[in-house]
Amino acid sequence: MSEVVKFGRPKGFFETFERRPGSIKKNMSYCPGCGHGVLHKLIAEAIADFGIQDKTTLISPVGCSVFAYFYFDCFGLQVPHGRSAAAATGLTRANPESIVIGYQGDGDLAAIGFNAFIQAANRGENYCVFFVNNAIYGMTGGQMAPTSLLGQKTTTSPYGRNALTEGYPLKVCEMVSQLEAPVYVERVALTSPANILKARKAVRKAIKISMEKKGFAFVEVLSGCPVNLKLKPADMDKFIEENMTKYFPLGVFKDVADEREPVKRATPVYDRAKVEETLYRAMPGGNEAHESLESPLFDRELRVKIGGFGGQGVLSLGLILAAMGKYRNLNVSWLPSYGPEMRGGTANCAVILNKGAIGSPIVDSNCDLLVVLNRPSLDKYLPELGENGVLMYDSSTIKDAPKVKPGQKAIAISAGDIAEEFGNLKCANAVMLGAIGAVLTKYYLTPADAAKFQETAEAAIAECFAGKDKIVAMNAEACKLGYTKMQNAQS
């Protein structure tokens, strides 16, 4: 690319500023002696020279350059105060082919937007940032900036900036260059022609890094604001060179552009088969794999509550029941105890099975099946058992047989003991599941439905512990054991 300095308006600007309302279409809105015009020019020249205008978005901040999009002949996005880096992240992640340029002042970047900025830098977002540091707030009328110098009088530091009250001027280049991700960090000044040429080189380098997709590039530009610094334009350069550069030294702080490989981002996949494979559930036979149930039991809503100590597998027993219902084409809901109750060490969940639409998923009355694995749950939930409800309890923890109302059934299974004997106390819930199966078989299921119980349970266990083959096999075994033990106890 050409490095020859050209005269006249760079092609990266519009010929006339039609986006600007009002009658002034030829001039920018900046004050005499302001650095924005010069920096705008360097950027406009670069995007035209590099032939990237079509795919470039320049992000206008809040500050004096809020209307930068009036001037640059490229895409423009005007963002909230300080949010440039976040918006840039969104743009470049969404469309890695685009070129994104952040343009921020010292308040926008180093005060209200510093977190967004430093996080984007730290992630190495593929875009470049031009940071205009003029040590003062311009747009709002001369208030203190995070980069105002010690002793500097502004409208909000009328006695001069004091390190004890306002802290020290923020050294952004020094901070950014300490991070791993940034590729290139330089501070330049828009003062002498020599310095402006250095700035030009830095601007072009930063944009090149974005074009090459090498990551985050940052150029801090010490720039003049004679109106708010109350200096004559002629004295502006002197202030920058004599006062600002003492605290904000010029130079390259980091440059690893040659070592960095281009950032590669994934290509979004929309292929129907690939999306289905990713989001649907692999299942031999697909949706038609499982027959519906015929037992009259399922002609009305079935309300199940399961309670016990946390860690007894209360929630997963509920999940397995819900998955079983799903496999038999029922609508199901599973609602875990949620919120403060969880903290007390007890857990419960409600499961509802219904051929039709499920109303309230909360089971706090008319419970058809109550399964309790500890005493507190029995005491708490037994009043919720419905007229002809079935209570199943773990008799290894609940020693005395609970009293139920006429019409209700109370059925004991020493699930804990059986599981321990089986070799894993954690399988008590699967033992209980098998026992539920035996009870259902005895009282409620048609022979055809009863014959499907173990198969359905195994499919549901496999779904709930997907990828954990050993646990699946163990629980399926424990379920079978629970079924047999209950069957024997019932006969």
């Binding site: 309302p21 978005t57 206008s60 002949d73 996005l77 969404a94 469309n95 685009s98 949620y338």
Partner: protein, 354 residues
């Protein structure tokens, strides 16, 4: 291998599936209970399809990332809960003004302040009246099940595109945390970048997006344009589910988990011979005024069931122009309204009480 599109999913998971199937390209978010499963599921599933998931450093960053991705012409979504949504509101105001489509999920928890992580519905006013600064509105959908979390994600993206507006899915911790059977829809092809996007493949360099209009006349024009759009939305997009409502003397209304509780309550009341019916709003902005007005012709009384201090009740009163009494059944702080609470209340109304 054959595949089944019937899954057991939490509401918070289902919304991510629905979004991906609707062609969502990007997710930006920040973890918060009880919405975190949305970010977690997105973190797992988006990369599997080469789509963008990014955990932002804060809520303000995440909404501005949404702004950037939407400006780039992509389908984009974020999710949070109450206090996190409050932080996003600045960005939403800009997004609404620039007329950028996006989908925002609010899985409401207990408030105000840090509140707690139990379910509440107290962001109703915040979301349905706009939320951030300035006179903008957003479309608000109210899913009440895992299936609707999935389906409304797709609907939300379509409405967002159609009206160039942020669309909220406003639900509560119960719907987010509850697991239900969900039938997933078919995957949709990529939605091409709209003509206004900052996407060179559509429209090289000609577009710009802004929300600053220094001339009062210009800004008024923008506001008039936005409000004409909101009027169109109010006219065309009111949605609700009516249940047993046609001959109802008592119309019970609620959204999210309350929409489920009142369905069961209405069935119970009918068994007792009390003619109760349900209007469950599926859109909260626009509020389904037409349905409420229609049923005000025969209903004696309206009941609003809410997990907050009584917010939707005002919209019911406005919808029926206070022509019938409207009473409130509510709980706060993360407690749930039970079927019995509602049944008892309506029973009392039926006996002539208040």
């Amino acid at each position: 291998m054959e595949y089944s599109n019937k899954l057991l999913l939490k509401g918070n998971e289902a919304v991510v599936y629905g979004a991906l199937l609707a062609g969502c390209d990007c997710f930006f978010g920040y973890p918060i209970t009880p919405a975190s499963e949305i970010a977690q599921t997105a973190a797992e599933k988006f990369p599997l399809l080469g789509r963008t998931f990014l955990q932002a450093e804060c809520e303000t960053a995440s909404i501005n990332m949404v702004m950037g991705a939407s400006a780039a012409g992509r389908r984009v979504m974020t999710a949070s809960s109450g206090l996190g949504i409050s932080l996003k509101q600045e960005g939403v105001s800009y997004i609404a003004t620039m007329e950028l489509p996006c989908v925002i999920i609010d899985v409401m928890r207990g408030g105000p302040g840090l509140g707690n992580i139990a379910p509440e519905q107290s962001d109703y006013n915040q979301i349905t009246k706009g939320g951030g600064h300035g006179g903008y509105k957003v479309i608000v959908l109210a899913p009440g099940s895992a299936q609707e979390m999935c389906d409304f994600a797709g609907l939300a993206f379509d409405l967002a595109d159609q009206y160039r507006s942020p669309v909220y899915l406003l639900t509560d911790g119960v719907v987010g945390q509850m697991l239900e059977s969900v039938t997933l829809p078919a995957p949709r092809p990529r939605r091409e970048s709209p003509e206004w996007a900052l996407d060179f493949k559509v429209n090289p360099r000609t577009n710009y997006l802004t929300s600053i209009y220094m001339e009062p006349a210009d800004l008024e024009k923008v506001n008039i344009h936005l409000n004409e759009k909101y009027a169109r939305i109010e006219e065309n997009e009111q949605r609700c589910e009516e249940y047993l409502a046609d001959d109802a003397e008592f119309i019970i209304s609620g959204f999210g988990i309350c929409g489920r509780v009142i369905r069961t309550a209405a069935e119970r009341l009918r068994e007792e011979g009390i003619r109760a019916g349900v209007i469950r709003p599926l859109t909260l902005f626009p509020f389904p005024k037409k349905a409420f007005r229609k049923h005000a012709e025969h209903a004696k009384s309206f009941v609003s069931v809410e997990l907050n201090n009584g917010q939707m009740i005002d919209d019911i009163r406005l919808a029926i122009e206070c022509s019938r009494p409207v009473s409130l059944v509510n709980r706060m702080g993360g407690n749930l309204v039970t079927v019995d609470d509602v049944v008892r209340h309506v029973r009392k109304l039926a006996k002539g009480g208040n």
